[in-house]
């Protein structure tokens, strides 16, 4: 309904022309598929068409994800280091009981497979702090980007940029900065501090693991929150201003409650991502010092893949355990989004 001059509308822009040309092969392809699909629709009826649309995706998915998941489960009840299932002896729940063999579950040291339990505890620590600070910083950044500032597009993009980098590159970049002779230590020494060997200190290592993963992914969550913030009707703020409400109160009483659905999505997504953490931290800290930043996925990777005796069975058992945890998180997410839709 915005009033535009006819000239502007009638002449296709360069972009539109480009799109028209670029769409040409697509049009041919999709056009060719029209006839068979029409025939299918006539035979099956509209009611069965969704299955047709789902079929290719489900087929790929079944072959390359579901079948491996099933094989993975089969691995977890067999032993040895053979690759083919028919050559692997059945051992029942032995791999699981090996993982669970603990004096006390609170003390990894008392477990047969101490690294598995360390991995779990490290992951819990990581997830707790990473998610908390991720949400905090995404929220602060989104709030700031939601203000009337010039160059907002640029700043928004700047915070998003690291999302596009591969985990390996992210880790390399930061490792390069944090090395003993890296630029950060140069900065520290130049202002009179001692060099810090970041990757030798468990706390620093965990700190940087958390920091770097937040650095890399914050932009994505910020955008989700920003979308939520911009969806809050401005009249609410104006009404609050008319009432003379303090800014802090506006934040707690208007912004936060209305942002809550987006915040929940962010928390759940960040949570799932954090549980899966692997490549970034693996390249950055190598899981060290000792096992201080060795997380559950790294444990699975090392056990099943990187060790000389590739212990597929134990790794598979651990991954099934992880899968169950993730599935529970999924259900939580579903419940959360369900409630969001209802509310």
């Amino acid at each position: 309904m915005a009033h535009q001059s006819p000239a502007e509308i009638d002449n296709p822009t360069f972009g539109e022309r480009f799109n028209a040309v670029a769409a040409w092969p697509m049009r041919v392809l999709f056009g060719l598929l029209e006839t068979p699909f029409r025939a299918l629709q006539r035979i099956l009826g509209i009611g069965r068409m969704p299955y047709i649309f789902l079929l290719p995706n489900l087929a790929f998915f079944g072959i390359f994800v579901i079948v491996p998941l099933i094989i993975n489960f089969a691995f977890s009840v067999t032993g040895g280091d053979e690759l083919f299932l028919n050559e692997r002896p059945y051992v029942g729940g032995e791999q699981y009981s090996y993982l669970a063999d603990c004096g006390s579950y609170l003390d990894p040291q008392s477990c047969r497979e101490d690294r598995f339990w360390r991995g779990i505890y490290n992951t819990i620590t990581f997830v707790f702090f990473q998610v908390a600070f991720m949400v905090l910083f995404s929220l602060v950044t989104a709030l700031i980007l939601n203000r009337e500032i010039r160059g907002r597009g640029f700043f928004r993009a700047a915070f998003f940029f690291p999302v596009l980098l591969s985990p390996v590159v992210v880790a390399l970049i930061w490792k390069w900065i944090l090395l003993r002779d890296g630029v950060l230590n140069a900065g520290l020494t130049s202002i009179g501090f001692e060099r810090i060997l970041f990757f030798v200190d468990p706390t620093w290592s965990m700190f940087w693991a958390i920091f770097v993963s937040i650095w890399a992914h914050m932009g994505f969550y910020t955008l989700i929150l920003l979308a939520g913030l911009q969806a809050i009707p401005p009249d609410l703020y104006e009404a609050a201003e008319m009432d003379g409400t303090k800014r802090e109160r506006v934040f707690w009483r208007i912004t936060l409650p209305l942002l809550w659905p987006n915040l929940l999505v962010v928390i759940v997504l960040a949570l799932i991502k954090a549980v899966q953490i692997f490549d970034e931290v693996f390249v950055l800290t190598g899981g060290g010092p000792g096992t201080a930043t060795q997380f559950i996925v790294q444990y699975i990777y090392t056990t099943g893949f990187a060790n000389q005796v590739q212990n597929f069975g134990l790794a598979a058992a651990a991954s099934v355990v992880l899968g169950v945890v993730l599935f529970v998180l999924t259900l939580v997410q579903l419940a959360v989004t369900r409630r969001k839709e209802d509310g």
Binding site: R38, Q41, G47, M49, P50, Y51, F53, L54, P56, N57, F60, F61, I63, F64, V65, V67, P68, L69, I71, N72, F75, I144, R147, E148, R150, G151, F154, F155, A157, A158, F160, F161, L164, S166, V168, V169, L172, I173, W174, I177, D181, G182, V183, L223, I224, A227, Q230, R247, N262, V265, F278, D279, V297, I300, G304, Q310, S319, L326, L329, L334
Partner: protein
Amino acid sequence: MADAQTASGRSIAGLLTARRGGASWHWTDVFTYVYLAFGVCLMFGPVLWLALSSFKTPAGLLEFPPTLLPLGQIEVEVDGHDKPLPLYKVTMEDGTVRELAQIRRIGIIAQMVDPNDPETSIRVPIASREPIREFRVAWENYTKPLERFNFLTYLNNSVIVTVVATLITLLINSMAAFGLAIYEFKGRNAVMLFVIGTLMIPITIILVPAYLVVTQLNMVNTLWAVILPGAATPTGVFLLRQYMLTLPRDLIEAARMDKASEWAIYWRIVLPLSLPAIAVLAIFSVMWRWNDFLWPLVVLNRSEVYTLQIGLNAFQGELDVQWHYVLAMTVVTLIPVALVFAFLQRFITTGIASTGMK
């Protein structure tokens, strides 16, 4: 990056004027600008530092404290010597400082010569000399590995994998999303639960079984082995479906009244209208495929099918990490990312915001 420069220039001007509704300065205004300035440095700084470092010589990289710009030692031609000699600034015993070229070093004594007086050699303790350096870009960090490897083949493979995989992903994911968003049918919730449930499975966990499947399909050492397994992304289906749910149902019904077949509704109505979400998925897919490392490493072991990520990492040996190559090759793989970012940044960010996990 030029774009970023000008944009930040603009925004610096904006810093002074952009406050909420011309009211007086509030602490949050100050905080905003400090935060943003710090944020921009934090986000771009490390990457720029990486790029700068990648132009340094191995020796330059080892230096502590590091220099900002890549520097190289100046070498001079001296009569009577076949090779150019490195130039040093030497503090003599009497406290004077001279520029001398080093002929050789024996133990802790360097044998040096004044380039202007090539006949007399001077013996100097090595502790009292300091190399003289100038700005020099170590292009060889880039050219050497790229010569050593079949760069064009790898690039070609990477591009094919990225493009074909992204097209397949977009096609089958959007079809599935269409099916899940537009229709009510038996089993829909089960499929959705499935999709979301597998959203969380990292490939690392099923690396070996997935490899088994690929070998059984005889796809090892073909690009299909890299393209197909990741094509049916739950993330993509989820994202597109969420977006398609926001399309007015009237449009679909209008199309049905217009005698459109279901396929035509999919590709002539829903697909064009889901373009923002499709673009977001396309960008993510391109990034995933371009950055993919672990999986190609497992399924591709013939150099004619290597992707760039494998090829460029091939200089990571057993015992030696050659940082100057690692950094340079990292920058090479970053170039497309930077281009995508520079050209599409507005599009990406608004696209994600508009799909915004509604």
